[in-house]
Each structure stands twice: as C-alpha cells, then as structure tokens.
Symmetry: C2
Subunit: 196 residues, 2 copies
Amino acid sequence: MAALFEKDLDFEFVPVDFATREQKTPQFLALNPFGQVPVFEDGDFKLFESRAITKYVAEAYADKGTDLVCKDPKISAIQTMWMEVEGQKFDPTSSKLGWELYFKQMFGLTTDEAVVADLEKKLEDVLDVYEQRLTECKYLGGDSFTLADLHHLPYLHILIGTKMKSLFDARPHVNAWASDILSRPTWVKVVSMSPK
Amino acid sequence: MAALFEKDLDFEFVPVDFATREQKTPQFLALNPFGQVPVFEDGDFKLFESRAITKYVAEAYADKGTDLVCKDPKISAIQTMWMEVEGQKFDPTSSKLGWELYFKQMFGLTTDEAVVADLEKKLEDVLDVYEQRLTECKYLGGDSFTLADLHHLPYLHILIGTKMKSLFDARPHVNAWASDILSRPTWVKVVSMSPK
C-alpha cells in the first residue's frame, strides 16, 4: 500500500478475513497458493509476494509518483543489494521480534525473553551495518528514498513501538533514517488506515 | 558462479579461508560488512548478497550467454515473484535442512531429528506449490530457465543427496525440473570445482 500511494495510483483495498480463514479458501489459494496476504491484481494480471508486487508497481508505473527504482544497472544493483539485505537479514530477525514483542501480546501469549535476547543481538548486528551505511548516504539505496527503504517500513513501525526502540536511539543515523521514512505522508496514510 | 558460467563471462574465483576467519578481517568486511561470502567485484564495482549479484550479472550482461531475466514488466514480475518464493519460502527451510542433514555431519555434529521432521513438513508444503506450478510451465519463471530456477541450485544439490530425496521422488514435475536444472553443463562445472 505504501508503494501504491508513493506511485499515486488509484486502487481498491480488499480486506481478507483471517478470522474465518478466508486466506485458505480455494478462491484465495488460486490467487496465492501459499494462502498468505498480500495478493495484487492489476486487470487480469495477478501477483503475490510483497517484494515482487512493490517491484512491479515501481517498474510498470515508472512514470508516475516517486521514483522507487533506477534503470542504471549499477545503481539498480546497489538498491537490489540493500533490498536483499532487508529480505535476508532485517526481516528474518525483525519479523520474529515482532511476533515475540507485538503479536504475542495481541493474542494474549507470553513473550519468550530468551528468544528476544538472542534476536536483539542479531538485530543490533544488522543495525550496526545500517549505521555505517547511513553515514555514507541518506538512504540505504543511495541519496533518495527507494524500495530498499520502503520494504523496512512495516517492521520498523512495529519495532519502534516496543522496547527495541532503544537500539534505534543508540544509533543516530539509523534513528534519523527511520524517523524520516516513517514520517512520509504515504506511510502515515497507511498507518491511519490500519485497524486500531 | 552458475550465473557467471551461464553468461559466458571470464572471471577469477578468489577463495576465502574460513579456517582463518578471513571473512571477518577488516579487508574483507570492507567488501561485505556482514562478513559473508559471496562478494563480487566487476572492475571498481563491488556487490554482496548472492541474489543481488546474479541479478546484476544477468542485467548488466544481458547480451551475453543465456537470457536469465526478461525486460517485459509482467513476465519479469512473475520471475521476480518466484525468486522471492525461493528467498522467502524455499531457502529458509532448505538451508536449515542443509545444516541439519549435511553440514552438521561434515562437522561431526549430531542431527536434530525433531527439527528435521518439522522442516520436512515445511519443505513438503513448498514443493507441493512447485509441483502445481510446474504442471503449468517447464520452469518456475515460465517456459525457459531463469534466475528463478538458478537460485535453487545450491540447496537442491545438497538436499537431493540426503534423505530429503524422497520428497522429490514423490513429486514428478518437481523431480523432472530438479534433474533438468542440476544437469545443466554450467552447474555440473560448478560442482566439479567444489572441494571434495
């Protein structure tokens, strides 16, 4: 949704009811055989996997809204590299921390503090690399906001609302970057649409 | 290396000595701050993260060797979607299985069979989706071999040498696909260069 807003595209948001396991119905499995959200439809064209959807939106609508990718092979490769870092390093750690510190509380489950301590160390290692990178340029992919930053938004938003905020407070460049991208009007709009 | 061979590129392979923790030296950390292989250098241009490297090689050398990516936004998006499936679904499961069933034996450690049983179930779920997809087209990304297939090679190679082979034997389309891509001359060449 952040990518769609950045590209100034009109779209219809179709909620999927997890309470009735709508994501596991034959109709939904025909859209995504893994039975997960998000799924994206553009006319007859269908996609799943969030990072594939954002890349399609950024490339197919290159002439609209914010430039989120670059056509130069070397600049594009650097952006792809930081997207891979998000997918392979940031997400595996932050999504498990999000489960322990945010979703478990939502479902009335008990946080496993030993698991949190282990993940916190791993997140620190990732954020140390980001701190260094963000002394070289304002955003992970270079001097402008791209998908390499955008993909971080959901778990940055969640983690900064937990005790993991201290890891960001301790790293000035990471903290400034996180504040910057979390305050983009497009992301504020996404958050305002989320159920309270 | 498989991507470089597919693109018919001359390259120098520089081994990194894990025994002396060369990957954690300041010189190596300047190439990849996460202290991991592979790292790729093309003149002055440096990249880490294997999937970012293969995409750069495929795009920057589009006119050489095998076409591994497509410029059409929709076909490209479908290929990207299956690359994301590899990175987000196949790899997290297969790399942990590879650790339990292959690398632990190499290091004289004991395989945790309860962990293997859990991962095996997850791998079956992924391969069931692949089996369906591969009834629709010969390769994951469409009718030709692309990065969406190539990224699977290392862990396919490892898993098919373990008791996980039975999961492939039970799925004819997945098995034919795996045999096809593992027998590509470029991959056979990569395997022949590996230490025994």
